[in-house]
Amino acid sequence: MEKFEKLTGIAAPMPLVNIDTDMIIPKQFLKTIKRTGLGVNLFDEMRYNPDGSENPDFVLNQPAYRQTEILVAGDNFGCGSSREHAPWAMKDFGIKAVISTSFADIFFNNCFQNGILPIVLPAEAVAVLMEDAKKGSNARMTVDLEAQTVTSSDGQSFHFEVDAFKKHCLLNGLDDIGLTLQKVPAIDSYEAQMAQARPWV
């Protein structure tokens, strides 16, 4: 997995609440058997008109936001389905961090599996960053995972909390499976105990 340390980039404002994973990547794109190539379909039904042309009103289609790396989003981002295609599409587009007041649990975990940092901040802080994001491509926001801060283009800094283990994995680009396989003896021992205690499983 790619490491996430520090990022300075364009942030796009998406103030809508409850942006669900069907909006992030609609179902017709879940038929792939690969993890890559989904960026072009990120937010597909908001981003494109029914005839396939770009919807000029959608934020990521505007010239200032085509190189977006950070999303500042409304409450409860990523609710709905467990599809990891949502963070895959974001990653493929180039988004590396999302800031909101809250995230749906499964989406939140899926982000970390793909080197994307979801950042939870209080509503007041998200409001400030949302305004900052509206300034466009000349305003760069900075996310520093080591320091656990987000800094707006005019230097206002906000501290965020992150699970220590998830931070460690992201900073070092560690793969969960590799880590768990170091604990195979513990899994073996658990299975041996359970073969006695709950043999019907």
Partner: protein, 472 residues
């Protein structure tokens, strides 16, 4: 004496393999369910790193999301991408030696219906699947939740998940339900009250007389939509109804193993005095037949209400409601019962079980779809379909003008050809009314099977109690 524990605490504790100093745990997974959409990348990952499936005997796969629900699918799936995904699952199941119910098997169906039906899902287990509606299995007192594809690969390789414990939330439904009110109305009403993020970070335990009174099918409907309330998992303590449902199923324990299992299952309840971080109580008598009006499952109202205005809400929900009303083509103040529909969908992992089909058929008996309305019934599994046919339910649906389809997820997420056209409005027994969920531009109103049947007859959203009054 140890501190009193919740049901969630007990199941969690029984599955911890390893605990790190920061509280991150390695949790053992008893059952891993797999479908064709969220698994190909995980199997590919195993191949690339030369890994095997650690416990193929605990892994169960079935194609459901992509499969057409029309005849001929056993030999050919027209959509090339869908076909490739289903073929990939066929191959992965074979190569890795996991339990498999292919599309040619009468037992094939929606993964969350097949698991309980075959006795794979048992009380006290940990159950995961790359699908958010895995919460369904919580009806058995199993800790069950959805995971992403990277986690699917993790479970395939290690039979464990890296997890932090969630908080405990209790949702109690007291007293009795009124006539015409079902499990679906309970679960939608809870989400209407707590919101789609109300359960985020929690595992919900549903309890109370109205929950106890539900059949296993009804309990599965309630737990299924825990995720729509933001909770990863919903749980109901197992009781005699649970044991009765499980007993004799193909993969349920038998003989001495059954007795041993039963003894443990009977300890799976929340101890007196155990701590809940959040408690919600709703009176069963206060729950009415409900429908959704918007594009979030929290947009729930009793069928007797009127369409709200965006200004009725606060904060970010004002803009969201405005967008929903626009998408749904609704005017504030209009009666919900004046909303005309074009289609009816009965099925899904929420309401595709035999009891759901019986309930809908009871309302539709001797009636017909309103002119211009199309209807589709998609049983949740081949066995549900077979049983419905033995009971003559298929005939009631067909006589009423419905299409009687083969098992699968179908229109609930529209990955197969079953979709709404732009602007088409559907009374649906499924679980999500998101924009584009059932087809781009399609408009979904969520409701119970009896409410969907009532709407089918009149051609507009309808209070099922009015239809019931007519039949008496």
């Amino acid at each position: 004496m140890s501190a009193p524990k919740t049901l969630y605490d007990k199941i969690w504790d029984a599955h911890v393999v390893d605990t790190q100093p920061d509280g991150t745990c390695l949790l053992y997974i008893d059952r891993h369910l797999v479908h064709e959409v969220t698994s190909p990348q995980a199997f590919e990952g195993l191949r690339m790193s030369g890994r095997k499936v650690r416990a193929p005997e605990k892994t169960i796969a079935v194609p459901d999301h992509n499969v057409p629900t029309t005849a001929g699918r056993e030999t050919h799936i027209d959509n090339e991408e869908s076909r490739i995904q289903v073929e990939a699952l066929d191959k992965n199941a074979k190569d890795f030696g996991i339990n498999y119910y292919p599309v040619t098997d009468i037992r094939q169906g929606i993964v969350h219906i097949v698991g309980p039906e075959q006795g794979w899902t048992l009380p006290g287990m940990t159950v995961v699947c790359g699908d958010s509606h895995t919460a369904t299995h919580g009806a058995f007192g199993a800790l069950a939740h959805g995971i992403g594809t990277s986690e699917v690969e993790h479970v395939l390789a290690t039979q464990t998940l890296i997890q932090k414990k969630s908080k405990n939330m209790k949702v109690e439904i007291t007293g009795k339900l009124r006539p015409g009110v079902t499990a679906k109305d309970i679960t939608l009403s809870i989400i209407g009250q707590t919101g789609t993020a109300g359960g985020t970070g929690y595992v919900i335990e549903y309890c109370g007389e109205a929950i106890r009174d539900l059949s296993m099918e009804g309990r599965m409907t309630v737990c299924n939509m825990a995720i729509e309330g933001g909770a990863r998992a919903g749980l109901i303590a197992p009781d005699e109804k649970t044991f009765e449902y499980v007993k004799g199923r193909p993969h349920a324990p038998k003989g001495a193993a059954w007795e041993a299992a039963l003894a443990w299952w009977k300890t799976l309840y929340t101890d007196e005095g155990a701590h809940f971080d959040k408690v919600v109580t709703i009176r069963g008598e206060d729950i009415a037949p409900v429908v959704t009006w918007g594009t979030s499952p929290e947009d729930v109202l009793p069928i007797t209400a009127t369409v709200p205005a965006a200004e009725d809400f606060t904060g970010g929900k004002v803009d969201a409601a405005r967008r929903s009303l626009d998408y749904m083509g609704l005017k504030p103040g209009m009666k919900l019962t004046d909303i005309k529909i074009d289609a009816v969908f009965i099925g899904s992992c929420t309401n595709g079980r035999i009891e759901d089909l019986r309930a809908a058929a009871e309302i539709l008996k001797g009636k017909h779809l309103a002119p211009g309305v199309r209807g589709m019934v998609v049983p949740g599994s081949g066995l549900v379909r077979l049983q419905a046919e033995e009971e003559g339910l298929d005939k009631i649906f067909k006589d009423a003008g419905f299409e009687w389809r083969l098992a699968g997820c179908s229109m609930c997420l529209g990955m197969n050809p079953d979709q709404l056209a732009p602007g088409e409005r559907c009374a649906a027994t499924s679980n999500r009314n998101f924009e584009g969920r059932m087809g781009r531009g399609g408009r979904t109103h969520l409701m119970s099977p009896v409410m969907a049947a009532a709407a089918a007859i009149t051609g507009h959203l309808t209070d099922v109690r009015d239809i019931m009054a007519e039949t008496v």
